[in-house]
């Protein structure tokens, strides 16, 4: 309602979530790591053994790049949906915070940065495993980290829109079945999008997951991504627009 009173007001909200996470950090990281790794290793080596190399790299290396982005997306999405909803709707943590000098912008921004942070942990954990398996090539590897941050921010902001609209946890299933899962299949995570009908590949290329993949895959292979600036801008604009919508919808929900 009024301008920020506490400088960096999102930070104490972020720190609150970080403190909760720290108590359960190890099981949380291992839990987030297990599922994508099982898929990546199972499909990558099992299915990959029957496949020719893709763009000169083995299938498992191709899939590794997709897995970094998909698990970043999933971690940000789960946090912005289920965990934020618990804090907003079930535990009423946001109500408690809104009784202090912090405003709703601080709360939602704190949640955005926290969900992005958690997805960053998740992406980094996968990256460490991939590097240990020798599936990366060259020193551009470290540029994957900012690409993971941008991907996480975009999906955190998108998730917060759905969070603001959700009547209950059941509502989140639609987000996964209607948006996340189809997007994963047409964004070049599991296979190159030139296998798709042209119109579907075009839609896929516009989706935020594809922007992340377009940055991460070349970087892991030791190449500078083509059109990097466009993909970076696309993820930043997605974050900005989605955050503005999420904030507006959350304000309508909580401060009516």
């Amino acid at each position: 309602m009024s301008s920020a009173v506490i400088p960096l007001g999102w930070l104490p909200v972020w720190r609150r979530n970080f403190l909760v996470w720290r108590k359960l950090a190890l099981p949380s990281i291992l839990g987030n790591l297990a599922d994508p790794l099982i898929y990546m290793l199972g499909l990558g080596y099992g299915l990959g053994a029957m496949l020719p190399s893709i763009d000169g790299q083995p299938y498992v290396a191709f899939l590794a790049a997709g897995t970094v982005c998909a698990s970043t997306m999933n971690a940000a999405t789960f946090e912005a949906l289920y965990s934020s909803f618990s804090r907003m709707h079930v535990q009423k943590t946001w109500d408690a915070i809104l009784n202090t000098p912090l405003g709703l912008t601080d709360v939602v921004a704190g949640e955005l940065f926290w969900a992005a942070t958690k997805s960053f942990f998740s992406g980094c954990a996968i990256l460490v495993v991939i590097a240990a398996l020798g599936l990366t090539n060259g020193p551009l590897l470290f540029w994957v980290l900012p690409a993971v941050v941008l991907t996480g921010l975009a999906f955190a902001a998108l998730g917060l829109i759905w969070n603001a609209l959700a009547p209950s946890y059941d509502f989140f299933m639609y987000y996964f079945t209607l948006f996340i899962t189809p997007m994963t299949l047409i964004s070049g995570v599991f296979f190159p999008t030139d296998q798709l009908p042209g119109w579907l590949a075009t839609i896929g290329a516009w989706l935020p997951l594809a922007q992340g993949v377009a940055l991460v895959r070349p970087l892991l292979a030791g190449q500078v991504p083509a059109d990097a600036l466009i993909h970076i801008m696309a993820l930043l604009v997605t974050t900005g627009v989605a955050f503005a919508i999420a904030l507006r919808l959350t304000r309508r929900r909580l401060l009516k």
Partner: protein
Amino acid sequence: MATLGSPPALAITELRKTYAGTAVVDGLSFAVEPGTCFGLLGPNGAGKTTTLRLCLGLTAPDSGRIVLNGHAIPDDAQTARARVGVVPQFDNLDPDFTCSENLLVFGRYFGIADTDIRARIPQLLEFASLGSKADARLATLSGGMKRRLTLARALVNNPDVVFLDEPTTGLDPQARHLIWERLKKLKAAGKTLILTTHFMDEAERLCDRLIVIDHGRKIAEGSPRQLIAEHIEPQVVEVYDEAGGDLPAFVDGARALADRVETSGETAFFYCREPHELLARLAAAPGLRYVHRASNLEDVFIKLTGRELRD
């Protein structure tokens, strides 16, 4: 009490808020002197919680003016909230944290440095009689302890004004008395308390002044004593039909002995100034039990807001 002429801690003028065509707050005006306890009383759905949300700037009024600690609300609400504490109606403590962590994390929302909060935590826990529970997890606390921790949390920024939304609902008598005693201490320390409750004994004990609201409108205002003196006869005789007596016949015969008679189910309430003749008549009436007492704020409340159930 406040010194004469000091500006009110909270001043509300002609406040209106409508939800879906229904006026929830309908032209409400009142002012709260600094250092006093002010009560906001009313049946369920009277507009108490909405009024508090408006005062904190959590929702914008359709019209009217709110000034809290000299700050215009909602425009300047975040600045005003820096000097305000809130005990909400439903506990929203952090279940993942210990008592100390709850206070530490909440203090950070006010921009207070960790070292300053940590230095304050022991006295806050002591005030809430939770001195031995600093590292206790929230799940191990009783309802009364959680309520006290919520009160301690509301004081983490050393506020001038504390809003309390039904602070003792759901507590056992021991826990309620402890909360009341702490609230009196806060008032003695010069804090302004703004309290909603529908426990009339709570309001009578704590409030220097109070208003009764119903349907978003103020229907009475004053100190508990003033309200009792102005709105109701000083004595009440409650007559119960518990042993097969004929209550309706007794009420018909004794109606003239009281200023006012109300019947609710198996109980008749005789409101009067001079009950001797009524009591003599009751002593001779077979099958009826009775209680003779001074009238209280609850009688005023029922008279003003009626006996029908509010859901």
